[in-house]
Amino acid sequence: MTTPVRPYGDTLDDGAVQLSFTLPVPFGPRGREAARLLVEKLGFRHAEVVHSAPLAEGFSFYVAYGRTDVSVDFDAVRVEEATGERVYTMDEACAVIREKLGRKLVVVGACTGFDAHTVGIDAIMNMKGYNHHYGLERYSEVEAHNLGAQVPNERLIDYAVSVNADAILVSQIVTQKDVHVRNLTELIELLEAKGLRERFVVCAGGTRIGNKLAVELGYDAGFGPGTYADHVATFVIDRLVERAAARA
């Protein structure tokens, strides 16, 4: 079955979309027409520039509405999230660790490179947690090390080795000019160069990070906005149990 879906304004399949953008052209009727043509070229019917304003010499701003015939087959849309429907609560997670691993799970986390946004990794690791979901430090069966902000990849790896970690959790928030991609890639390359990649479950997280991107970059999983400790814990535990089973 295919279910083509289109944007919806007030009638099914009307395709209505709101756009806004700046053009590097002077404000005036020609700019307005250029904006309209652009919206048309983007594949919109009924392209209407409903507002324009001068921003500066040679720059102008536009608000437009258009209608598109483009559709997405909703049935074919697949999301690969790191965790499925089933997410362990803290107590469940600890029970599984006790039962299946028989020892404490060791996790090292950090916000790496020059990134100093710790709120995200803290949300995952700190006692207090986030939105009424406790962080990993609260898990009785987890030994959690939060190295904080601006941790060089090298130091993170050394530390993970020194505490014999099961999992490494990396946070990256600043994404301008794809600095996060560079930094995440570097960590994996370093791990591989040292022959340590297989030793850890390595997860990335951040506002603009998803499972898809992280997996592409060589991580075991990626976590975006709305993640709680529960999600990462579930993923790490399941992955470790899997590995243990494979080894056995």
Partner: protein, 521 residues
Amino acid sequence: MESRLHLPPERITRGRELASRIVAPVQDFIDAHTTVTVERATLRLAGADGADADGVPVPNLVVDQVRDRLEEGALRFWVNALVRTGDDVVTLSRRVAGGFRLDGIPLADPVSLEAKAAELVSAASMRVRGNRKRREELLARHAGKNHSPLLYVIVATGNIHEDVKQARAAAAQGADVVAVIRTTAQSLLDYVPYGATTEGFGGTYATQENFRIMRAALDEEIERHGRYVHLTNYASGLCMPEIAVMGALERLDMMLNDSMYGILFRDINMYRTFVDQKFSRMVNAWAGVVINTGEDNYLTTSDAVEKAYTVLASQFLNERFALVAGLEPWQMGLGHAFEMDPALPDGFLLEVAQALMAREIFPEAPLKYMPPTKFMTGDVFRGVVQNALFNFASKLTGQGIHLLGMLTEAIHTPFMQDRYLALENAKYVMGSMAGLGEEITFRKDGVVVKRANQVLEEAVAFLEKVEGTGLMDAIATGLFADVKRPRDGGKGLDGLRKKGEGYWNPFETHLTRELGLGGGR
């Protein structure tokens, strides 16, 4: 409550007094007349319904048949036919739709006519009373769940079935009131279309079936969300009384109903409108409907600072016309609007002054506050800010019914997401500054206090002038809204009739009695 604006109570009293003197002579005129739509409304109350193959509604067919004898009241012919044929109302409606004429049937004896009429009045009463009771029960069951002010959104797709989707979404997002906007110019139709409709422009036809469909959908939403969702439609126009009846029968909760809107803004004949509004308001009063008056319309054409007093003057008149039609203060959703020029320095202060003034002068009325419209532009982002300030002003001054501004006001009738964003905006702003009104006092010699007092003075002065001229001549000479509406001009005058000696309308009599009103015949 003591006035926070230091408004002199005697000036407020003076405004009311003037309104009462202005309305009295108009009331005498009204009592002596009926109109085609008052007659059709009566027939609808008596069960006339449906339409012929050309779509002409049965009430129109009946009134057209007896056009020359309308001064007797159309109901007599309907009741007589029921008595004579023994049909029930549904059958008779169907027969009339098929061409059956009522005007030739010899009259039955007055006693059986009265008896039949009493039966019809009681059937209608039961239905309307049932609706009122249902509303009261639901409101009681979900007490405390609505926002204050009530968050009011419109749907206007033109297609009742799309409207239902939009209305359900709005309910899910927290709307307290859903108004189905009428198609462009329905107010100028001298009949009410029949059945479910899917083709309107800038709105959806007001039909009884559309009312029913929407009410049923919203009732489901009430159950789902545990919050009463009010339904609103428009009475205004050439069919005010009939649509009021439809609203009463289908449990609408609010209706746009202004004593002069049709005259000033739709060029409907003034005699016609005055007579129509009275009957429609009696029906609203009876049905427990909250009316929404149209003072906002003054400011869509005139300046909100210069002409602020026209809003207040009109509120005084609407209040008076409402009182004499039996509406209680809690049913008077008197209108005003946030149409202050965003470029005006301290415009927000003037707006707050005017909104709070209305609040203090009509303390029991659930004031209906309209959002910025005329200064909205295609800049949807600035529109969001204008709406935020409007939301702020409304909560700050304790308004009752809050029409949400749409960021796309200058572009199209609302998309589903527009309404969502409007509700988010209002919920956030009003939640975050909820207590501010209670926190603050205005400087006695400040801009806000001065402005409110000035507008009150101007309104009273204006009413003095209108009282001098008489309302009808005031309208004819252009004192209101900068338009001149001659007494004999405008649409629908041919539908006006002086009531004859033998005018018979047991429904009117019933309403007059129920509402404890004197007058009428």
